[in-house]
C-alpha cells in the first residue's frame, strides 16, 4: 500500500473511532467524561493533521507489504484462538504450529513433528507442572 493512502485510511479509522467515543461520552458523568473528551478531540485533530500532511505531500513511497502472507498469518491466528476452547491448548497448538510452519515452506519432517510436540511438552512442564498454571482445556473436559 502507498504511504499516502495509508496516511488517509488509518487516521480516517481513528476519526471514526473518536466520533463513536465522543457520542459514548454523553452517557458518562461530567468528571468521568472530561479526559476522554479532551483525548478524543486531540486524536481527531492529529488525525486530520496527518491526513492533510499526506494530501499536501508531493512524493509518495510504497511500503513493502505482502498482503497474502500477512492474510494467511492473521487468519491462522484467528482460527487458532477460535479452536483453543474447543480442542484445548495442547491439541490446538500442535495443529497450529505444524500448519503454519508447513504453510510457510518448512518441509523437514523431523522439524514439522518434533517442534510442535516439543513445544507442547515444554509448556506442559513449565506452565502445567513447574508454575501450576492450567492451559485452556478442551470443551469436553
Amino acid at each position: 500500500m502507498k504511504m499516502k493512502l495509508a496516511d488517509i485510511v488509518f487516521p480516517g479509522l481513528l476519526i471514526a473511532m473518536s466520533v463513536l467515543g465522543l457520542s459514548e461520552c454523553n452517557k458518562f458523568t461530567e468528571s468521568a467524561a472530561l479526559l476522554p473528551r479532551i483525548c478524543l478531540w486531540i486524536l481527531i485533530a492529529l488525525s486530520v493533521g496527518i491526513m492533510l500532511k499526506a494530501l499536501l505531500r508531493k512524493e509518495d513511497k510504497t511500503i513493502a507489504f505482502n498482503w497474502g502472507r500477512a492474510g494467511i498469518i492473521i487468519a491462522a491466528l484467528i482460527l487458532y484462538v477460535v479452536i483453543i476452547p474447543i480442542a484445548g491448548y495442547y491439541a490446538a497448538t500442535v495443529l497450529f504450529t505444524f500448519a503454519l510452519m508447513f504453510a510457510f515452506g518448512v518441509r523437514n519432517k523431523v522439524i514439522l513433528i518434533a517442534v510442535p510436540l516439543g513445544f507442547a511438552l515444554f509448556v506442559f512442564l513449565v506452565f502445567g507442572q513447574l508454575l501450576s498454571l492450567t492451559p485452556p482445556k478442551p470443551f469436553f473436559m
Binding site: M3, A6, D7, F10, L14, M17, S18, G21, E24, F28, T29, S31, A32, L34, L35, P36, C39, L40, I42, L43, L46, S47, G49, I50, K53, I63, A64, F65, N66, R69, A70, I73, I74, L77, I78, Y80, V81, I84, P85, Y89, T93, F96, T97, L100, M101, F104, G105, V106, I111, V115, F119, V123, V126, F127, L131, S132, L133, T134, P135, P136
Partner: protein, 510 residues
C-alpha cells in the same frame, strides 16, 4: 544507603536468583542477536510468567534480558551487517568491516567488553543518583504528578521515525484505550458497550503482548530476513586477549559510557542516540578519523559502551517517577504492575530490598553477560541460523499461553489478538507501538491526579498553590516536557547537518 545496598545484596545472593539472572541474560543475548526479535519482545513474553514468581527473581531475570539484549544486538550487526536491535546500528559501521577482514572474534570481544563497561558504569550511576532523586519526587503533590504524566506522554514524540503527529496520535490512542473500564475517580463504567469483560478494562499483559510480540512475529513471517553469513576466513594468527583492549582504549570506554548514562537518563533518548553521539565524539577526538567506517576498533567500543550504559540510566526515571523511558522499560514496568508494585519514590522506603536487589541484579547480569558473550559467541552464531518460519509460530503460541495464564481468560487472548493486528498495521505505517504503550500506562496517572487537582482547587485548576501551575516543581516538569518535545527536532536537525556532510542518520529505537 550503604545499609540498603547490603540488604539488597543479601536478598539477591540466592541460588534461585542466580539461576534466573543467568537464564535472563542468555535469553536477552539470543533475543537481541536474532534480527526481528528484541529484548522488549522477550521481556513482554516473559512478563506473564513473572506473575507466579517472587518479585526479585522475576525482575532480576528481566534485568538480565535488558542487559543481554543490548549487547546481543551487536552480534548480528558485526556478523551480518543487520542490527539485531536499532541501538546496535552504529556498531555495524566498524564491526562488520572488521568481520569482513577476518577479525569477527576480535570485534565481538571488543563489543562485549565495551557493553560490560558501559553497563557497570550505568549501574553505579543508578545507585548514586536514584535515591537522591526519589527524595525530591517525594515532595510531589497531585499537580506535580499530573505534569510527570504529561512529561512521560510527551516522550512519545521522539519515539516516532515518521514524524511527531504519528507518535502523538499513537500515544493518545493508547490513552483512550486505557480509559475502557471504570473511571478511576468515580468508578463510572466507560466505553464498555455493555460487555461485562470490558467493564474491568484490558489487562496490561494483553496489550503488551499484543503491541510488542504479535506484530514482531507476524513481521518475521511476512518479511523474509535477507541476512547471510559472508565473512572472510577468521584470522587465527591474531591472538585475542580480552582485557588488553581495556587498557589500550580505556579513555574511550569511560567517555562513551558516561555519554550513554547521560543520554539514558533522558527518557526516550535510547541506545541508538547514545551510540551515535558517542561514536561521533570518538571520531572527532581521534587522531585518525579516516579509519572510522572501515573497521576501526574504537568505533565498536564507543557504540557498544554507550548503548549498554543507557540501561542503568533508563532505570532512574522508571524507579523514581514511574516513567518508562524506553519500550523495554515499559515492558519491565508491566512486570512491576503484574506483581502489584507501585513505582515511585515510596518504593525506596517501602521496598528497599527489592529496589537495591534489582540494582545488584543489573550489576551481576552485566558480569554474566561478559562471560556469556566472551565464551558463547560461537553458540550464538549458530543460534542465528534458526528458521524464522519455525520461530514465529512458537512466539504466537507462547504469547497465547502467557496471556491466558494471568487470569485464565480467553477474553484476554482475544484482546491480545485484536491489538496484535492493530499493532502490526501501526508498525507498518509508522505509528510507534511504544508510544501507544506509554500513553496506555501513563493515562491513569494523569487522570487520577487531574481529578485530585480539580477536587483540591474546587475546579479552579489554574490558580492557587494546589493548582496546576502553583509550584516550582510543576514548572520544572513543564520545562522538561517542553525540552522533550523540542529534543527530537534538535537531534533531527543535527542528523540532517551530518547527513549533508555525508554521514548516516539515526534510526528508530528498538
Amino acid at each position: 544507603m550503604l545499609q540498603n545496598l547490603l540488604n539488597g545484596l543479601s536478598a539477591i545472593l540466592t541460588l534461585q536468583n542466580g539461576l534466573f539472572m543467568v537464564l535472563g541474560t542468555i535469553i536477552g543475548i539470543l533475543a537481541g542477536a536474532i534480527p526481528g526479535l528484541s529484548s522488549t519482545l522477550a521481556i513482554s513474553l516473559l512478563v506473564p510468567i513473572t506473575f507466579v514468581m517472587d518479585p526479585l527473581p522475576a525482575l532480576a531475570m528481566l534485568a538480565g534480558i535488558y542487559n543481554g539484549g543490548m549487547y546481543g544486538g551487536s552480534i548480528s550487526s558485526i556478523l551480518f551487517n543487520v542490527p539485531g536491535a536499532a541501538s546496535a546500528t552504529v556498531t555495524a559501521f566498524d564491526g562488520h568491516p572488521m568481520a569482513m577482514n577476518g577479525r569477527s572474534a576480535r570485534a565481538l570481544q571488543l563489543a562485549v567488553l565495551a557493553s560490560f563497561t558501559g553497563g557497570i558504569i550505568s549501574v553505579f550511576a543508578l545507585i548514586l543518583l536514584s535515591a537522591p532523586l526519589a527524595k525530591v519526587v517525594l515532595a510531589f503533590g497531585p499537580a506535580e504528578y499530573f505534569w510527570v504524566a504529561v512529561f512521560g506522554i510527551s516522550i512519545v514524540v521522539s519515539l516516532s521515525s515518521e514524524g511527531m503527529m504519528k507518535g502523538l496520535a499513537a500515544g493518545v490512542f493508547g490513552m483512550v484505550v486505557s480509559m475502557v473500564g471504570m473511571d478511576p475517580a468515580t468508578a463510572v463504567p466507560r466505553f464498555d458497550f455493555g460487555n461485562i469483560y470490558m467493564s474491568g478494562g484490558f489487562q496490561l499483559t494483553s496489550i503488551l503482548l499484543g503491541m510488542f510480540s504479535i506484530p514482531s512475529a507476524i513481521s518475521l513471517l511476512e518479511e523474509k530476513f535477507k541476512g547471510k553469513i559472508d565473512l572472510a576466513e577468521e584470522n587465527k594468527a591474531e591472538k585475542v586477549r580480552l582485557f588488553s583492549y581495556w587498557f589500550r582504549y580505556w579513555p574511550n570506554y569511560i567517555r562513551s559510557s558516561i555519554i550513554g548514562v547521560i543520554v539514558g537518563i533522558i527518557p526516550a533518548a535510547g541506545g541508538n542516540i547514545a551510540s551515535f553521539v558517542a561514536y561521533d565524539t570518538t571520531k572527532k577526538l581521534s587522531k585518525h578519523p579516516e579509519t572510522f567506517g572501515k573497521g576501526e576498533p574504537e568505533g565498536v567500543i564507543s557504540s557498544e559502551a554507550a548503548n549498554n550504559a543507557v540501561t542503568g540510566g533508563s532505570f532512574i526515571p522508571l524507579l523514581t517517577m514511574g516513567i518508562p523511558g524506553s519500550p523495554a522499560a515499559a515492558a519491565i514496568m508491566g512486570a512491576f504492575m503484574v506483581q502489584g508494585i507501585i513505582l515511585g519514590p515510596q518504593l525506596f522506603t517501602s521496598n528497599t530490598k527489592l529496589v537495591y536487589g534489582l540494582m545488584w541484579s543489573m550489576l551481576f547480569t552485566n558480569i554474566i553477560m561478559l562471560f556469556a558473550g566472551y565464551y558463547g559467541a560461537k553458540v550464538v552464531r549458530k543460534a542465528l541460523g534458526v528458521d524464522k518460519e519455525v520461530l514465529a509460530p512458537l512466539i504466537f503460541a507462547f504469547s497465547v499461553i502467557g496471556c491466558y495464564s494471568i487470569r485464565n481468560s480467553m477474553f484476554d487472548v482475544r484482546v491480545m489478538l485484536i491489538f496484535g493486528v492493530i499493532g502490526f498495521f501501526m508498525k507498518k505505517y509508522g505509528y510507534p507501538s511504544a508510544a501507544f504503550i506509554l500513553g496506555y500506562i501513563l493515562s491513569p496517572l494523569l487522570e487520577e491526579n487531574l481529578q485530585r487537582v480539580i477536587q483540591l482547587t474546587r475546579g479552579n485548576v489554574f490558580s492557587g498553590k494546589s493548582g496546576l501551575f502553583g509550584s516550582g516543581l510543576s514548572w520544572l516538569m513543564i520545562a522538561l516536557t517542553v525540552m522533550s518535545l523540542v529534543f527530537p527536532y534538535i537531534m533531527s536537525w543535527i542528523g540532517k547537518r551530518k547527513q549533508a556532510k555525508g554521514e548516516q542518520g539515526i534510526p528508530e529505537d528498538d
